[in-house]
Every structure is written in structure tokens, then in C-alpha cells.
Amino acid sequence: MIDVNVCFGHWPFQKFPYSTLRALNEGLKKEGISQSLVSSLDAVLYPDPDWGNESLLPGLSFYPNLMPVGVVNPLLSNWRETLERCIGWEAKAIKIFPNYHSYPLSSSVVTALINELAGRKMPLLVQMRLEDERNQYPLLKVSGVEIEEVIKLANHFPEVPVFALCPYFEEAIDMVKNSTNIYVDISFVEILNTVSALLKEIPATRVLFGSHTPFLYTRSAIMKIKATEIHRKDLEAITHRNIRRLMKLEGEKP
């Protein structure tokens, strides 16, 4: 099982169970997750995400199961430098936080970034939200990314896979139905019999396993998958085949 939605670092409003990479690695392995895409959480609130990347990504080289994802804020004039540094640390993808870093996806700086990713055949991870908007700290209310913006961006760059992380059920369906290259993770998607219900609306080829660890209990995403009654082929697509194909991942079988 490959998890596309894992962060590591500090968050001022939640106490996380993992304070070291070793603990995170062990915790994910214990839940049956063989590989994860991991990005720096500190990079969200630091004024320069490079600080977060540099404190996390080099250390990931000691944990082959934890695949580095770089965080880039394309509003900052040094974003190309940040991107290069991330690639130097073998980042497999780039994650952006449009509503935390305060720019619309229609911004020209996003176009420049996604052009770079297209040239390097790297997927773009868009963090739709980190928390349920109703439960946020009152002085840090950040709304979710508008799905129309994601759809528009994805349709402009059909060759770049866009992973939308933490969409709600209806948002996930709308984004997939209105694009050819948006892929959604299951961490925030929830309704009775979540995965079966989702696959009644969209194909399994567009769904990715994501737990949003450490914000949420990893076990919840695992149990959504384990409880589902879907075709084995679809299950394999969601848990590892889609992401292997999209990121051309080799190595350990899940």
C-alpha cells in the first residue's frame, strides 16, 4: 500500500504522535503502508518553505520507504531555487498550499511552476485543505481550495498529473468528472461505504490511497480500504497501481 498524503513536522494546533522520522516510518509500516509520499509540514507556515524542506528532505534518504515531496511557494522569488534543491534531495513530486500561501491557482506564477514540472514529468500535489474548516484555530481560518480553480489548472496542463489531497466526497467527484488528469486521495472523502460509493461515481484509476497522517488516525484510511467491497483490480489500482504508474515507481512490492 502506498500512501500519497503524509506530512512530517510541527503544527501549532495539534499534538502529533510522531516526533522522529524513525517513529513515523515504524508507525506507517505497522499500519501496513509500504511506501509514502512525505512532505514538510513546517514548510506550510515558515515564511520560506525551503527551511522546512531542508530540515526534512535530506533525512529521508535514510528511509527508503519515505519518498520526499518538496514544498514550493511560487509567490516567492526564490521558488526555482527551492525546486532545484528539492530535486537535489530526490523529491518525487512537488506540493503546493495555495490557500495557506495566499495565491489563486490562476496566477501566472503557478503557470510557470507547472511548466517546470511538465518538463520534468513530475506530478503536482495540491493540498485542498489541512483541516476541517469548522474546527480551525479562530485566528487561522483558511478555506479550502476552490475545485473550479483546480479543474481549470488541470485542464490547461493535461500532461501533468494533479493530485488533489483532502477533497470532500462531492469535490472529489466533481474534479475527476471535469478533468482527465486530476487524481483524488481518500483521506477526507467519507460517506457510508466510502470507497464503494466513490467508485459508483468515478473510476478507480483516478483514486489514490491517502491517509493524511499525522493529522488523522492512519487506521481510519486503512479501514476504509479494508472494509470496502470492490473488485480486487480496483482495490489494487487505488492502493498502489495508480501511483506506481503515475510516478513510475519501482522497487518493493506492496
Partner: protein
Amino acid sequence: MIIDIHTHPCLDRPFETMETIIRSAKKLGIDKLCLLGDVLYFGYEPTPGQIRQINDSTIAIVKRYPDTLIGFCFLNPAHSKEFIFEEINRCVIGEKFKGIKLEVAVNARDRRLDPILEKAHELKVPILHHSWYKVVDKKPNESDPSDIADLASRFPEVNIIMAHLSGCGIRGVLDIRPFPNVYVDTSGSQPISGMVEYAVEKLGAERILFGSDVPGRDFSCQLGRIYGAKIGEKQRRLILGTNAKRLLGIK
């Protein structure tokens, strides 16, 4: 035994939906479901006729699956005392429902709740009350945990189940800590990590009840927060069913 203290039926196609809900619950080892009514079907301020319709539906569904379902009587405290008592008599005394559900029509601090609490005390049934500390989308009379704490202080002999642990958050857990007659259910929002452990530390596992809020939520995901929490097996068993069994008087 696993008991889900917080589920809702659907007023549209009630039996078809319930069949799916029960099948999904059984697959995950959930033995009993408390049905709180389709409480938002008619909006935030249901009329007496709508309340009766919601309770009629719960009664019919519970009669179809008496071994699995436990009914709760849904009320709007804004209604007349006569109507409220009529519904309580019909559901709790007549149909052996095990609790009373209050939603967002009237805030928990409002004295119009008093006759309901007095009746709950007399009949020895708990009140399950919606609660959430919201920073957006708060409904006009929606209760937060401080409102539940106020209610609990006025009626220390009535057992109150505060819904939505993740929505109530850290502050909500601390609000109800001084009131041993208040329990919290684990439903609400995404399965935010650490919340179950925090509630166990501050309240004790004896005051926590597993709730899913199905069908808007998923049994698997909501159970995941109980099985994924770093707590002892004895504490887990209390949360999953032992507490609810005791509170509802299930043999």
C-alpha cells in the same frame, strides 16, 4: 459488544437505507445501533408534525430490526410541553426508546429544555445533545460544549451525551470535565488524531462512547479512530460498547 451511540436513519427510503447500514455495521462487528432520527431532514426548526413524522419513521425501522436497533426520541424544545410529553410518552414509555435526542433548534442553555431534562430524570434515560465549537457555519442556536456544561450543571442527575468529540475539540473536553454526568461520543468531523487519547486522559475512558454519525460518515473510518488510538484494550472495550451498555441499561 460494540454499540454505535450515534446513527441516523433516512426519511427517504428508510428500510432500504437501513438494510445497507446494518449490513455494513455487522461486517465490522458492530452489534447495536442507536437511531437518533433523521434530525435535519426538515431543517433546523422542525414543526410538531415533522417531529412526529421523524419519530414515526424511527419507530417503524426499530420494529423491523428490534435486535439491532435502539430508538432515541427526537424533540424540539421550542414546542409545547404537552406535545413534548406526548412524544416522550409515545416513544420512551410506549416504544421503549432508550434516550432523547436534541439538535440545534434551541440552545442547551435555554430554560425550555428544563421539562425535557426533568422527564429524562424521571424515566432514567440519557439526553444526546448535538455540540460543536465551530469557527464557521455555526447555526443560530447551535450549542457548544460550554452550553452543554451549563445544562449539566443545572441537571447533575441526568446523563447527558455530548455529541461530536472532534467537533468539540480540546476545549470541549475540558469544558465538560467537571461534570461527571456528561459523556462524549466520538463522532464528528474527520478522525483527528490524538483526540481519543486526550479525552481518555482528561475524562477517563468510562465517559467516552463510540459514535459514527452514519450514514453521513463511514463505520470503517470512525472505528479507525478507536482502533488507531494509543489506549489500552480495556479502555477500548469501554468506549466501543461497555459504557453504552451500562448507560442504556442493555442486558
